[in-house]
Structure formats: C-alpha cells, structure tokens
Symmetry: D2
Subunit: 337 residues, 4 copies
C-alpha cells in the first residue's frame, strides 16, 4: 500500500501512521519528498485495509499495490480451476455451452427447448424460475413450479440444470432442483446471498454487475470462496455504458483480464451482452476467440412467444447454426467443445 500524505502533514503524522503499520506486522517505509511525503506499507493488502488510512485527515491518497482479494487470485493459485456442473466440466481445456430459455414458462416449452439445444450440442440447460424484472408488471417466473419443471426436464434429457437464485431463503429449494446456482447481475453484490452460497457444495455462476469492475467481480467471488465454496464460475454479460445500439456493452476485454488475475473459469453471456438476437452468434465466436471457457446463451423454442427476453433469444435453428460454426473458433483458441 502506498500512502501519500497531504502537503501540511508533519513528521509526527508520518511516524504515527508508520507505527500503526508496524503494529499490524507489516513493514513501513518512509519517503520524504520536496512536495509530499509518501509512505509505503508492505504486506497483505487485506490486513493493511484495516488501517482505513483513507479516512485520515492528513492522508491525500491511498493506492493498493497488491489486489485486495486473495483466494480467487492467480498468484494464490496459479493453475486454472475446473468447476464441474453435474458431470460437465467448465474451465481448463473445455469450452462449455449452456443454453436454454430465459424463463421456464411450461413443461413443454422447457422440454422442447432442452431437446433442441441438446441435439445441437449444448451440454447444460439454463432456465429461470425466479425472474428479477425491471417492471413489477412483467412476468416474474413460475417459482417452485418452474423448479419442478427444471428437475423433470434435466432428468429426462440428462443435461445438468442451472437456474437463478435471488434470495437466501430459496437456496435449499433451488439446491434440490438444479445442478448449479446462477447469481444474476443485479445480485452480484447481494453479499448475504454470496455468503450463504459460499456454504453450499454446488457450483455458482456469478454474473458481473452492470456497474461492476472486474475487481468488484473478483471481490464478490472472494465472498463465496472465503466461506468454503471454491466452485465459482465467473460470467461476463455486458456493462452499462452510453451506447444504446445494444442492450449492454459486452466487455470482452474482461476475459483476458480475468484470466490473468484469477484461476477461476469465466464464461460469456452474449445474449444479455448484446440484447439483440442477430448479434449473439458473432459475439459468441468472439468470446471463444479471446479465451473464454464457455458461453451461456438464451434459446427459446419460439422466441416470438417468450414471456421474457424474447428479443435476444435465439430460434432453435439459429442456435444449431451457432454450434456448427463455433467449433473452429474454439479449436483455434486451443480448447475443445
């Protein structure tokens, strides 16, 4: 940690702060300059953070040297982590395709869609029973009934099921009906939920929040891992920017950034990342090209009838086309479908 003091800070202030650094078992450094005194503090940033030096009236600026997360960092664990959803590995040499509707609307709708995506080569099924919707007047999901449909369809098709969790009190119910939890963008910093999921033994797909930096995303993952559940799959799904041509701005830069900083697998959601059906396939290819470990794609047996997110859902034949064309990109990136 680097601490820049205000111009008016005296030597006593510097001494006081250095003493506090030393008390924590870290190593203080003194760098007096003509215009500012700068202090260094060498040690674990998580410990140094306890000093809360940014509150000090004589401190101008505090800069971290190391990352404030540890368990999810590549420095802590240099090799790629592989997380399995059911028996489907995510990470390492594999490129995993998760597909399915935004919402579970009926048994037939989920079953038809599941059979279609399986036939095209998807290896996991997505589908929401609890839907966080911007408007209270929009379809909010089938709830428990949806979970039960999910369980039946995954049993029939053999595809592991992934569904969104929005509340601590639903964890058990979702646990019983699906192979993985999905934490949506709006809940990425629902820390109570993260802590509880950290006590689970099922994988968590953690989606990046619309205003979350990569650092924020890794800190959110650290919440889960620090409670004992290291089965976290990160998911880039677009951030909010001034551009309105697409629903969100898919930040594919985040993929190599995350790969450098963390050992966790990372997948891409080109459906939410663009919000427009016809842009999903090119962005799925781009995700594979820049090193993602998989994609999660919205497919509906008939998007024109979808109760949510129809505009970004693929028709089954568009998804078949995606899978056909995806392979060479995945292979060029050194992975296999």
């Amino acid at each position: 940690m680097i601490i820049v003091l205000r111009p008016e800070a005296t030597k006593d202030v510097a001494d006081e702060i250095m003493a506090r650094i030393e008390e924590l078992g870290c190593k203080p450094l003194y760098m007096p300059g003509a215009e500012r005194t700068v202090l260094g503090a060498l040690g674990d940033e998580r410990i140094l953070g306890q000093l809360r030096l940014d509150s000090h009236p004589m401190v101008e600026k505090v800069t971290e040297i190391l990352a404030p997360y540890k368990l999810v960092s590549r420095e802590f664990h240099p090799h790629d982590t592989v997380v399995s959803i059911g028996d489907v590995p995510v990470g390492g040499d594999k490129f995993t395709v998760i597909a399915g509707p935004c919402s579970i609307e009926s048994f037939d709708q989920l079953r038809d869609t599941a059979l279609a995506v399986k036939a095209s080569g998807a290896s996991c099924l997505r589908g929401g029973a609890y839907k966080p919707r911007t408007s209270p007047y929009a379809f909010q999901g089938l709830g428990l009934e949806g979970l039960e449909i999910m369980q039946k369809v995954t049993a029939e098709t053999g595809l592991p099921g992934i569904t969104e969790i929005v509340e601590v009190s639903d964890i058990e119910r979702v646990y019983d009906h699906a192979s993985a939890f999905q934490v949506g963008a709006r809940n990425m910093q629902n820390f109570r939920l993260l802590l509880e999921l950290g006590k689970s033994d099922k994988p968590v797909i953690l989606k990046r929040g619309m205003a979350a930096s990569v650092k924020d995303l890794l800190m959110a993952a650290e919440y889960i891992v620090s409670e004992g559940n290291s089965k976290v799959i990160l998911c880039e799904r677009g951030i909010r920017t001034f551009e309105t041509a697409t629903r969100n701005t898919l930040d594919l830069n985040a993929i190599p950034v995350i790969k450098k900083r963390s050992h966790l697998p990372v997948i891409v959601d080109p459906s939410h990342g663009t919000g427009v059906r016809e842009f999903v396939n090119p962005m799925a290819f781009a995700a594979a090209a820049c090193g993602a470990d998989g994609i999660i794609v919205e497919v509906h047996r008939n998007p024109a009838e979808a109760l949510s997110d129809g505009a970004q859902s693929l028709f089954p034949d568009q998804f078949a086309d995606l899978m056909r064309k995806l392979k060479p990109f995945v292979e060029a990136a050194g992975k296999e479908l």
Copy 2:
C-alpha cells in the same frame, strides 16, 4: 407504444399485430411508409408491455409513448407527496436533514454522533447495522446489536432512526428498531426485498443504483408502491461513470427530472455522491438549490477512526458549518429547514 416493422414485414404481419393490440382493449394505428411500416398502439403501456413485441422477428424497434410506471408518476398523482419518518415530514415545503455515521460501531459512537448532529439541527439519525461491503475482509456491521444501539440512541435523542435493510428475513427486526428502512444502491433491484417492503407501513428510502437510470429507479419504487406502501423517499447518491476524481458522479440533473415525473419526495446523499469529505458541503448546497427535499449525510464523531466510509464522513464541526450555511440555499429554493 410505437412499433416500427422491418422493411420485409408484410401487411399480414401488421394485421396480426394490430389484432393483438385490439384484443388487449387498446387502439391500433396503421402508418405505412415508403421504407417502413409503423404501427401505433394507444393505451396503458403496462398492458401493452404484455405483447412483448420486441421479440417479434418482424419488429425492428418498439418505443414507449408513456412511462411504464404509473403509481409513482406525477400524471397519476399531480401533487407532491409528503412522507413522514417518525414525526419528521419529508417532501412538500420542508427540507429534511438526515445525518449520522455510516456504520453503528458502539453505543458511545452513535450517541456522541447523534447528540452532535442534533445540536447542529439534523432531524433524523442514520446508522447502519448491516453493511454491504465490497470486500469480505471489511467490517460487516454489528447486526442485531447495532439495531439495539440505534433504538436506544433514538429513544434518548428523539431523532427518528433510519437503517439499511439488506435481506427479507431482517425486515421484522429492522422494523422493530428503526423508523424507516433504507434500501442501498446495491439492492435497488433486489425485487423480492422491494415487494416485502411494499407490505410494510414504514417509510422506505430507496437509493438509486450505480447503473440505474431515473426510469429504473422509478420502476423500483413502483414495486414498493404497487404492494401498498406509498411511503417511498427516493435518494440520488451518484452513478458510476469514467470519472475517478470522485467516488461516484452525483447526478443532480436527476432531481428536476424526478420532480417532473414523480410525486415522490427525493433527497440527495452528497457523502456517497462524492466520496470525499471536503466536497460534501458544496454538493449539499447544490442539492438544496436544484430542488431536493433533503439530504442524507455521513457524520462521525471522529472520522479518522470510522470502521467504514471515514474518508467521506464529516467531522462534527464540519457538519455544524454545513447546517449554518445551508439555510439561505434552502430558503432561496422556497423551502424551510
């Protein structure tokens, strides 16, 4: 609602969509042009939204004419709503000052701070018992103990207490210890929480999310009001932009925008809006000047020791200075402190 069809859409497509509009009891309009056919649909946007026409493969673009929220809109309810926290009115001709520490750290800390802000003229006390923190290694709040401290201090000082709620399961507990719920920026779209708060009879301060538009904020408020609780106070606290000189970008434009669109009171949080102690006072003055109904400000008896947000917390004498200088701005805006 305006529906622009794709160039290749036939008259049959237009007829099909117009029939669906009519089925909902709304009025369709047909506007064929040289390059595009445009359809109009006149009626309640909440009902028209059920058509989900953006999913239709022959629809290029859908634009709302009216707002998708209703109960919170000024058209629905033209006069300013006044919401009372305890016996302190927020909205109308009043300018309300809520002050206190970010976190409740001890009985003495909260009591000292409460007495100081009361002496300077604050009318409500803030203080968090459940703290959503970016890092799992940071102070997470005292929980129930914090709530009990809050209750004791508010009883002693007579200041109504406001505290953050992060989970549905805490609602009852918080209800018993405070006069108003605060929903933080990270939970603005925790819709399950909003729905439950909608069943309460205590006021809710709803903070704008970091990536939330004013429309998103009003939709979130609609969740609460649609369940029966119309005691909602909106709060602008800064959005996330590329600017790093301040912690967030306080969007004061939002104040007149909200005032035009909604009858709900709106306050400003210049502490989170800037993240820097010395910028809090000028932005508090600006909030009063552009028509806000109050401010919520972080004050700590000694910010250098604060367990959270110390860098943006005022010293008690800075708060006293704020209150002294605030009055003429409030009066110039036609309100009273």
Copy 3:
C-alpha cells in the same frame, strides 16, 4: 419520425405541426390518444430533421424511425464496400492487418519495425508524425520529418503507409507522404477536418471517439462521404467506461452493429482498445471472430524505448505470434488473411 405532444397540446398545435410536415413533402399522421396525441411523419429523416420539432414548447418527445445518415447506410447501398489502401483491399472477403509503431521516432526505428511486421505478414504500415497527446509535456511527434521517414520506409518495404491527420492545413502534406489518412478518436467530430477529407481521393480510417455511439460514428462518416469521398474505413478502438483495468473498453458489439447498419468496412484497434500489451492478441482474435475486416496494431522494435504508447505496443516476436495464431480465426469467420 414520431412526435409525442405534451398533454396540454391542443388540436391546433397538432394541425400546425402536420401542416409543416406536409410543406416539406412528407406525410403526416394523426393519432389522438386518451393521455397524449402522437403524430407520425413519414419521409426522409434528414429532411424531417429540419423541422427541429424538439424545440417546440408543445412537443414532449421526438423519435426517429429511420437513421439520420443515408449515404453510409446499408439500406442505401446493400453490398459491402471494399476500400483499397494503396493496392491493399480492406473489406469484403479480406482480413487486413495494419501494424507499426504509435509514433515515428527515427528512420531506423520505423524501418526496423516495418521490416519486422512485413516479415510476419502485415500488409500496411502505421506510424504517427503528428501525435495528439494528453500532456503538453509529452512527445508530440516528428511532424514533417516523420512524414518523410514514412515515405522512405513505405517506398523501401512496399507497405502502404497510414498516418494520422490532426489539422486541415496538414492535409496536402500528409496526402503526399502516405496512402491513407487516419482520423484519431479525439478528432472524430472535428467536422471541418472531415469535410476537407471528403474532398480527397485517398482513403480515410475514421476512429470512433471515446464518447461516440455507433450512430455518432456513422454520422461522422456521412460527413466525409457526403463531400464525395466514399473511401471510409471505420475503426473501433474502445470507448470510455467506468472500468479501469484496461485503458478503454473495446466495444466489439459495435462490429456486428456496424455491419448491419452500414456497407463500409470496419477494423479494430486492440492496442488502444485494451492499452495493455498482453491483452492485444486475444482481442485481435476476437475482432476477427465477430466479423471485423481487419485490425490495426501497435508494434515497436523495442517497446521499452517507445516515445509513446509503449505499454500497449507489441514486441516483434509477439506480433509474429499474433499473425501465426490469427489465421484460423480469420478463416473460421469466412475471410482470408
């Protein structure tokens, strides 16, 4: 164009506006509703824009139906345009790689770099003589001397040269020394410069501004094409967002969006798009995967000595590695290197 009137607008206001629409030779439509009157105006948005109806005190909102640009739109010209830089085609089935240093620093530096990138397979050379730098104390480019070096090196290597133009008064000079003009992100809306380049017969690489939407970029291109120069190559180079892990946020969504809306070729600059050397190659692969017509990459014979943008410049062997690995991505996207 759709015009939503204010609730208080009378029938006379609607009639007056419809008369003005008709005067322009466009077709007005009247849609009275319970809460708002909506008017439609069918015709060329460029002409309708002259009405400036957003200024009208009785108009609440104006929405375009068609795009406000025409010559650059795919509707106007459905087939992909191929623009040639020297004898190197950009667009259509080709994937073009432009490489070279950020700044021209010396004859040897540019020559060494040019030979290296040519050996690895680049087909055009980039290098700046006039450098727009954030700080007045940073290296500002060699100016005319740089242009002369560019000319010598392109003559020797046979690679067509591309260099940035920052001022109308430099157009002739740059024209004489390079095969294509580059307009940087900071000048994307330097309309005087665009108009003058519109009178040239050499190609223009137009980089997207840091705060420019795709629509803004296409409008800027329309400036050039409307003056007669249709040799415009668009370039996505990252936009400014809250994310600080990378210098900019490369918006690859823009590639399929532009491909849908415009017939002009579009390339990607992964160097500025990330700002970090080790992220350049994955993002170059992603650019190829999502349908870009080429890339423009910063390479320096020794980035550690670069006078500008060294942190994002590739070492020659990193560029060789990029070219080796790029081919299968380009081919999977249906193009050839």
Copy 4:
C-alpha cells in the same frame, strides 16, 4: 511516482530503473517486499513522465503522486485567478452570467436576444458562427457573416461577445470579432488549436469534453497556459453516461474538485448539461450553490424557431425568471452577481 515491478523482476531491473530516475535529477527509492518490489521516484511528474516506465516489460503499474499538470494547479498558484472578458471579470468574488443563442441566425435574432438578456442582467453575450453539428445535414452556422453580426450587436449593446472557434485558420477572424474564444467539448483535445490559442492574448473558455475527466480538462488547459496565455476559463457542460433522461450528465462534483486543484475560474453550462429547457434553471442555481464562478446559458428570442439547440434554449421570460431567482443562491455562496 510509484513504480510497482512485476513479481519476476530482478534486483538488476530495479537498479537500472533507479539509475534512470537519478539521471533525470530525481530521487529514487527502493522498497523490496515479499511479493513485489516497489520503487519510488520523487520529483516533478512532468520530468518523470519522460521515463515512460509503463512501457517497461518488468513494470506492472505506475502511479503518479503529484498531478501531471503544473501551471494550472493551485499548488503552483494558490490564489484564485480572475480572467476578464472585455471588461467583465470572471472568477474571484464575481458570478458572471453569459447568455445568448446557440447559433447566430440573423442580425435581428441576435440583437433581440442580446437586448433581452442584457435587460435581465446578463453581462456577456454568447452566439456561434461556426457550429460543430453531429449531422452534416444540420445548420452549420453563418460563418464570417455571423461573426460580423456578433461584432455589430456587441458594439451596440456593450456586452462582450463570446463565440466558438473550431479551426486554427479561423483564429484571427474570430479574434477580430469577439472578446473571448470558446473551445467546444468536441475540440477540448484539439491540441493544435489549444497551442495556437495559447499564443493569443484573449481569454479562452475551455469546455470539458464528453469523455474527459477533470484531469484531462486540466491537462488541456495546461496546453494553453504553457504557451503563454493564462486567461483560461474552464467550463463544465456535462459528460456522457448511460442516463438518457437528460442530454448529458452535468457533473457538478467537478466544480469543488476543480476549485481544489486549480486556480482557474470555472463556469457551468446548464443548457448542454441537461439539454432540456425546464431543467436549466434549477441546475443554474445548483451551479451557483456549489461554487461555480458563473454560468453560460442558451437563450433565444423564440426557441421554437431556433436553428440549433432549441429544446434547451430558454425563452426570454424564462431567462428573466432565472436571473431574478439566482441572486440569493449567488449571495449564499459568498459571491455577487
């Protein structure tokens, strides 16, 4: 400057970098840690910037301690600078109101508007002759004819005139017809233009770019001042964010930030900052409240007929209302109109 080395950096790398720091006459510091070696470099950041250490393959991160600008900084010059436009002071204890149309459209239009704003108390006249417009099909300004109208009207009314400059080659012409240059948001980083204006003896109003941080704005000002012209007035006019309820997001936080960092006067443009006529007045009051030195407001004798920016232009009686209500806010902020 703080230099964090990569984990794999050897002591030799540290020595080499420290030697380069010393060569520049600055003071190097060595801080070896368990996980990273950190180097300090004490001295002028402008000089240290020449090291371009961010390019070094063994450097992970470089952080400045001091600002990279100097002449515009408050540390360099602690007292507020007052810049005079004609005989009207901007800065210090004064609050200056600049008003007028977006574009000069005719002699009568400018004269009528000028007389109206003067009668209400404006002290300077704005009006554009060269208009940078997003669309090539929009009104581009009257050019020289507009400048001549400006000169006549300012002579008649006694209001000093301010007009936009978009090109180096127009400097002389604009100089002869106006009392101050305005550099628009799109030209904030047109460095060639800034350098030439730096050689002038007339004041420059420098508007913040839509994607420019406060630091970028101050660096742009440094370009002008470093050439000898210290008569720079900064202008906050809104940045580009995801919020679409307003044309831009007026960043009033920037006012106290600039006041802390720089001695230059700073004004606010609530017209572009909101883009909506009815939000201009509250944001003008807020600008005064948070410490701005003035405002620049668009007023048109009849906004419904304005050839540009009519939607955000005030009617003369709205401006009169603004001026009537502004006074107490200005006085509460310790300034005078």
